[in-house]
């Protein structure tokens, strides 16, 4: 059984400067070796050589095999080497991996290639076999190391998985881990997600119970697995302390629940409580009436883990995907990977664009002298459409730069492409998803509200005069700014004001509806900023809501910080007015100044979902603790806070971001 504390200590002692040193030393040599090779299997050859060359270390405390040797980069080394690369942000078809093993996936491909009888399919399978065989050899070497160390269960598992099907609970987790680690650390990119974990692990959980394992034993094994996911990026943060590795600051995501949570869904939550680490973020797709005991467990765990998990309203997203024309079996299969971005579980890769909505909004305002909010909204929608169409054309068109990249490894574990011997990025899979993220929703909404009142209704300024005030960044108009700040703004349950934010979000969703897409491409609009509320802000001029040029815009689905003054129930009623049925991803972070009971959290979140709310990520922010952590970081190594769509170690954040967390509206 894993010694959880030792595994955790190893993470906390990890160094953000270190890279996966063997990869970085070997890949440049392989690049030279295959410089003249123009065959379609060049990627596979490099991959196989790399896997054959790296060491297979197993520590005495390891419960699952598969770790990479990390050291500080050599002088002159520019890590990470880009020879093997992917965009990540996807969920593999681990269900098929566990059921069939890589050998089974390969066999299906070979049969299909024979049917297709094309040169490209034949080459695809040839390269896939090179990769599959190298993974088999790699696992066998791990098995030998484990055997030498007397770790018999590990040795046995690795002589079977991931090449052949998993045979029990432990071997299933070992199989998933090895492929997940190769994807993240060797092929290289961030945010590979575990998908609908409770669904594909459930048969192995049931089998383990039948074989006499206790639930407590399984929870401990699973906690060991969850802690191990932290090895992917250690304590690196999203935008500050990068690790020089392909999966730099890669967050880990695991989804449970949905239409039919099972007995294992609650076990995952209990293991996450035991693990209690920043990774992985547990995303619950909640359908409260589906399983009342599971719903209670969700909020029990939520009150303990707070920022390390989040909850989505399953029904809202499910309905939205059906409305987009996706068939039921695909629409019910969704998951979230990479923060709060929607993913069609297993099927294919996805793309995403953070649309610079506030920039487009200001551009729109300066295009002409408008006479009404409605007129501006129409022009804004059209400008959004043009921007998004450009991106969609790039993704769909023959010049898509992503297609030039390999993705070969990914293609083996995405069911729709693997079974047709296609590259994931070739554009021929039945379902491609493009997430379009609306930034600064409340800033834009409050701007519409202020413009409408001051210019169109009260006529205190002509349109041109008000634009001049913005151009001068409110210089000489501080009293006006203060007045605007004190107007009722989005987030106070005032429908007459909230409607502006809703209308501008609808303009965004409408612009997505207007896109011309190929039939196998599906565009999903959402309200989500990641850190663009701060980083993009630098190029955004003064806005009519009283915001100075360069100041942050509103984060995710939240009101502008400090604008919501009527308490959390009023806030949630405002938020529930967003058209989530058309914008079914993205996130909301709520901060409380003290811990709440599971019952209180349940009441808050379920009330919100009943009103049509989409998502809740919750932090308990104790200002005194955060301030002390800023002064005495060594005392707070494990202190986490929720940021955008994931959990981060507070002391690892840059100062500006620590201050941003401190300044959030925290409800009592």
């Amino acid at each position: 059984m894993p010694n959880l504390q030792i595994l955790k200590d190893l993470i906390f002692e990890s160094d953000n400067k270190a890279c996966f040193i063997e990869r970085e030393r070997i890949l440049p040599c392989l690049e030279k070796k295959y410089a003249e090779d123009n065959s379609s299997e060049k990627y596979a050859k490099i991959f196989a050589d790399l896997l054959d060359s790296v060491s297979t270390p197993v520590l005495d405390c390891d419960f699952f095999a598969g770790r990479v040797v990390e050291e500080e980069p050599d002088p002159g080394m520019s890590a990470p080497c880009g020879v093997l690369y992917s965009i990540g942000h996807m969920s593999y078809d681990y269900e098929t991996l566990l059921k069939k093993g890589i050998s089974g996936i390969l066999r299906d491909m070979e049969n299909r290639a024979e049917e297709l009888a094309t040169e490209s399919a034949r080459r695809f399978v040839y390269a896939a076999r090179l990769i599959a065989e190298s993974i088999k050899r790699y696992a066998e070497r791990y098995a030998a190391t484990a055997a030498e160390k007397g770790l018999s269960e590990m040795a046995r598992a690795l002589s079977v998985v991931p090449y052949r099907p998993a045979y029990d609970f432990y071997s299933a987790l070992q199989s998933v881990w090895l492929i997940h680690m190769i994807a993240s650390c060797y092929v290289g990119s961030r945010d590979y997600a575990f998908g609908r974990f409770d669904r594909y692990m459930f048969p192995y959980y049931e089998q383990a119970l039948r074989e006499g394992k206790t639930e407590e034993e399984l929870i401990r094994i699973l906690a060991g697995f969850l802690i191990k996911t932290n090895e992917i990026c250690g304590r690196a943060t999203h935008n500050y302390k990068h690790k020089p590795i392909p999966s730099n600051s890669s967050k880990q995501y695991l989804t449970i629940g949905g239409d039919r949570p099972n007995a294992f869904s609650s076990v995952v939550l209990r293991a996450a409580e035991l693990s209690d680490m920043a990774q992985p973020t547990v995303t619950v797709l909640l359908k409260p009436e589906a399983d009342l005991a599971f719903t209670d467990q969700v909020f029990h765990t939520f009150s303990r883990l707070s920022d390390k998990m989040n909850v989505y309203n399953y029904e809202v997203t499910h309905r939205a995907l059906l409305a987009k024309g996706l068939p039921e079996e695909v629409a019910s299969d969704f998951t979230f990977s990479g923060c709060c971005a929607l993913d069609l579980h297993y099927h294919t890769i996805r793309n995403e664009q953070y649309v610079p909505s506030p920039v487009l909004f200001l551009t729109t305002l300066h295009e002409k002298e408008y006479r009404s909010v409605e007129e501006i909204l129409r022009a804004f929608r059209e400008n959004l459409r043009v921007c998004m169409q450009e991106f969609a054309d790039r993704v769909m068109g023959p010049d898509c730069p992503e297609r030039e990249r390999a993705y070969f490894f990914d293609s083996l574990f995405l069911s729709d492409t693997a079974k047709n011997c296609q590259h994931a990025a070739a554009g021929r899979a039945p379902y491609y998803l493009i997430n379009f993220f609306h930034i600064g929703a409340a800033t834009i909404g409050d701007s519409f509200a202020a413009l409408d009142r001051l210019v169109f209704q009260e006529k205190r300024f002509s349109y041109a005069a008000f634009m001049k005030i913005l151009d001068k960044n409110y210089e000489g108009n501080e009293a006006l700014r203060t007045e605007i700040f004190n107007m009722v703004r989005f987030g106070n349950d005032d429908e007459s004001v909230d409607r502006y934010t809703v209308l501008s979000a609808e303009a965004f969703a409408g612009a997505v509806d207007d896109l011309i897409l190929k039939p196998n491409f599906f565009a999903i609009p959402s309200i989500y900023t990641l850190e663009r509320d701060n980083t993009m802000a630098e190029i955004i001029g003064a806005t009519p809501d009283g915001r100075h040029a360069g100041d942050p815009v509103s984060e995710n689905q939240s009101p502008v910080y400090g604008a919501d003054r009527k308490g959390i129930t009023a806030l949630l009623r405002s938020l529930a007015r967003y058209p989530f049925e058309r914008m079914p991803a993205g996130g909301l972070n709520l901060s409380f100044s003290k811990k709440h009971s599971p019952e209180m959290l349940k009441a808050i979140v379920l009330s919100y979902f009943e009103m049509g709310g989409l998502h809740a990520g919750i932090s308990f922010i104790d200002r005194e603790t955060l301030q002390d952590a800023m002064e005495n970081p060594e005392k707070y190594k494990s202190l986490t806070v929720r940021l955008y769509g994931f959990s981060e170690y507070f002391i690892n954040l840059p100062l500006w971001q620590q201050i941003a967390v401190l300044n959030r509206t925290a409800y009592e």
Binding site: A479, T482, E483, T569, A570, M600, S607, E610
Partner: protein
């Protein structure tokens, strides 16, 4: 029917079970030294003024019929003496540096706000609480508001000092829970710190118990006033008389009333600036816990 209120606070989670909306009624017959809602004492509307919020827009100066707002070198001088409480200045202040406190509201108007959070009450077994001020000072209005809320299926609670000369039987028909303040248990001290003798309060408490009302005793604990073994013993003695007591809750002093006094242009009568640490109360509670025949909590 209309009544004078000074706030409607949503997401109240300390004023009864679940998520609640608390309606604060204006006017109180007691004058507790430490009162954390000093704006609740006077039955009439009052004017809050907070200097640091003033943007210097001069609008108050323009509308004041008594010329009580003056601006010199950008500084705002407000002379309260002579103020007619016409509230014109609060009406034009864009930054809420000047703010009206207290408004006549219809019961229906209040309930339309309260009902906004109906879903939250249902999910949390919450409801509406009347607080103040002293809700029983506006007895007929409170009764009417509670009756309408009950008719709409809401759980109702009343937070009261118990100082009321009216018969509480009628209003109790519409009250699911009484949050009944016991501030002091010594008669002379009660007069000294609250301005009234406690007999009416204690009699009403016993009366409510006799007619089967559900009661939670709420005891504010104020440093240098009632953080004494005698007071805790007194609370326990009173509690033992009550067969329908659900809980005794001890509330540590908080200084949030101090700033409000300044906003009202008043000198706070009790100026302790620190929150009383709940842990300081625990040893006193432990000595009487066994003598109280109900749940004992430190909030």
């Amino acid at each position: 029917m209309t009544g004078m209120i000074f706030d409607i606070q949503r997401f109240s989670i300390q004023d009864g079970p679940g998520i609640r909306t608390t309606v604060f009624l204006k006017g109180c017959p007691l004058h507790c030294l430490w009162c954390h809602n000093p704006e609740s004492g006077d039955c009439r509307p009052e004017l809050f003024y907070e200097e640091k919020k003033c943007a210097g827009c001069l609008r108050c100066e323009a509308v004041c019929p008594k010329s009580l707002h003056r601006f010199e070198k950008g500084d705002h001088f407000f002379q309260r003496e002579g103020c007619l409480r016409c509230m014109r200045c609060a009406g034009v202040c864009p930054t809420k540096a000047l703010e009206r406190c207290g408004e006549e509201k219809e019961t229906g108007e209040i309930l339309s706000v309260v009902l906004k959070d109906e879903i939250f009450y249902r999910q949390s077994n919450g409801g509406m609480t009347l607080s103040g001020g002293e809700p029983l000072l506006q007895y007929d209005f409170s009764t009417s508001l509670l009756a309408e809320a009950k008719a709409m299926g809401l759980h109702t609670a009343v937070e009261t000092s118990g100082y009321c000369t009216r018969n509480l039987e009628e209003i109790n028909r519409y009250v699911d829970l009484w949050l009944y303040d016991i501030k002091l248990t010594d008669r002379e001290q009660h007069l000294r710190y609250t301005g009234v003798f406690p007999e009416i309060i204690w009699e009403n408490l016993r009366f409510l118990n006799r007619i089967g009302a559900h009661i939670v005793m709420r005891c504010p604990i104020i440093p240098d006033v009632n953080l004494t073994e005698e007071h805790f013993r007194g609370v326990a003695l009173l509690a033992r008389e009550l067969s329908h007591l659900q809980a005794v809750q001890f509330e540590p002093y908080h200084p949030l009333g101090v700033r409000k006094n300044f906003r009202l242009g008043k000198k706070p009568p009790y100026t302790a600036e620190n929150f009383l640490n709940p842990e300081e109360i625990v040893p006193f509670v432990e000595k009487v816990r066994d003598r109280i025949p109900a749940k004992v909590e430190v909030l």
